[in-house]
Amino acid sequence: MTVLQPFVWGRSMADHFLKIRGLEKSYAMGVIKVLNGLDLTMTSKDRLVVIGPSGGGKSTLLRCIMGLENIAAGAIDINGEPYIGADNGATRIDRRIQKQIGMVFQSYTLFPHLNVLKNLTLAPVRSRGVPRSVAEDRAREIMRRFGLDQKLTAYPSELSGGQKQRVAIARALMLDPKLMLFDEVTSALDPELVSEVIAMIIELADGGMPMMIVTHDMWFARRIATRVVFCAGGTIAEDAPPEEFFARPTSQRARDFINNVLHANAEPA
């Protein structure tokens, strides 16, 4: 693995932007299989929304793509280059490629002891060697773009949940990612704070950022997805454009899931 040559994300091979083959992941010494030979491809034009029942492997899928999990088998290629692979129980990760993927989590995960500016500049300065002044200028620019420039010196504890999550997204954007992963980023938010976070993600999407989103918010899924994949039992059970998926799901599990979710939304218990 060489670190001398920066990895280049070409748009020409759009069909092979992200290719996952036979991904397997298990916990508790292989007793609990979370991903069960999952196959998935994504183009650079895709905004992929992953939905499905709890424990179906959605979040694990994103964590594997981010390189946060050891995998049992399978491989992930990006632009036709091997990114993650399983080698006799060990997981190989190409760190050059990993550094160009950004991820935002459900629980904000801001660094509580650092103010917003430091949260944004820590990784560029300490991990990418960006000069501090350059990183700070970029942080100001990003914060201005998303209407958060009043909060640069605030600490995470002084922000609302929605602001925290937008800062977390901004922190990922500081590293100029070529693919963004959003793992239930609105699930921990009070309902009135969800829209500001969704608006920020939609703005990114409109700017052409490829993304993969795990969400339980069906309105959001419909609004942003170019493709909806239904993840259950550790595999992709269904993969379709959103209008098709929500109108005519082909698998029984997806039909049941959608009925349950829509029913729950219509008649809250």
Binding site: F105, F111, P112, R126, A172
Partner: protein
């Protein structure tokens, strides 16, 4: 009992003030040294090398398990024989109290390190921070902040434990009080006054601790 005379306390105010100053000095030095030692021990307990982890754990268990008075006597009476050098009451006190503070403080650091959630590690890894950067800039600072209230409580314990050093002839508040009550034959007045001094300082300090704790709580929530 009907002729209590607290003026004796005032009469010996200079000696008591000197004793108090020595107690505070001793507690201060040993708190600082012990906190540094404790942080080092806590890191040793996370070491990749089993021998280092075991040595650190052994140190903590022995020092926390043994009465501090025994540690003090051991340093005062046994260590000079083993090392072949004179260790006076002052240095014996410093060494014994620092060893005690190091042991209890390493536990404070250890639990604060453990209390940092997996999501902070995930965030660091997703941002591509190297393990050393992660520890130095994200995990250790949060652990230090979280440990502060605990460390301050340890300082109060240490301040109270420091009365023990009077047993090896270290002149501090407790030793001074004993001497004065022997000379004046007024133990009730002197020892009550000294108890009050320990209480006021300990209680005042714990009040500081809880207000610090409130401020810190805001800084450790992501």
């Amino acid at each position: 009992m009907d002729n209590l005379d607290f003026s004796v306390v005032w009469k010996f105010r200079d000696a008591l003030a000197w004793g108090l100053m020595m107690s505070l000095l001793l507690s201060g030095i040993c708190s600082l040294a012990g906190t540094v030692l404790g942080f080092f021990i806590a890191l040793c307990q996370q070491s990749r090398f089993r021998a280092v982890r075991w040595a650190a754990a052994l140190y903590v268990e022995v020092l926390r398990g043994a009465p501090t008075l025994i540690t003090l006597f051991w340093v005062f009476f046994c260590l000079p024989i083993i090392l072949g050098v004179e260790i006076n009451a002052f240095w014996s006190s410093i060494i014994a109290l620092t060893l005690y503070m190091g042991a209890i403080t390493s536990e404070s650091f250890r639990s604060s390190l453990k209390s940092i959630g997996q999501d902070q590690y995930d965030a660091c890894n997703a941002l591509g921070l190297a393990p050393a950067t992660r520890t130095f800039y994200v995990i250790a600072p949060q652990a230090l902040i979280r440990a502060i209230p605990n460390i301050l409580s340890n300082v109060i314990s240490l301040f109270k434990e420091s009365t023990l050093v009077s047993a090896v002839g270290m002149v501090e508040l407790m030793y001074t009080a004993q001497s004065i009550s022997n000379i004046t034959a007024r133990p009730i007045e002197i020892l009550t006054a000294v108890a009050l001094i320990y209480f006021v300082i300990g209680y005042g300090f714990s009040w500081v601790v809880s207000s610090v704790e409130l401020r810190i709580r805001a800084r450790v929530q992501s």
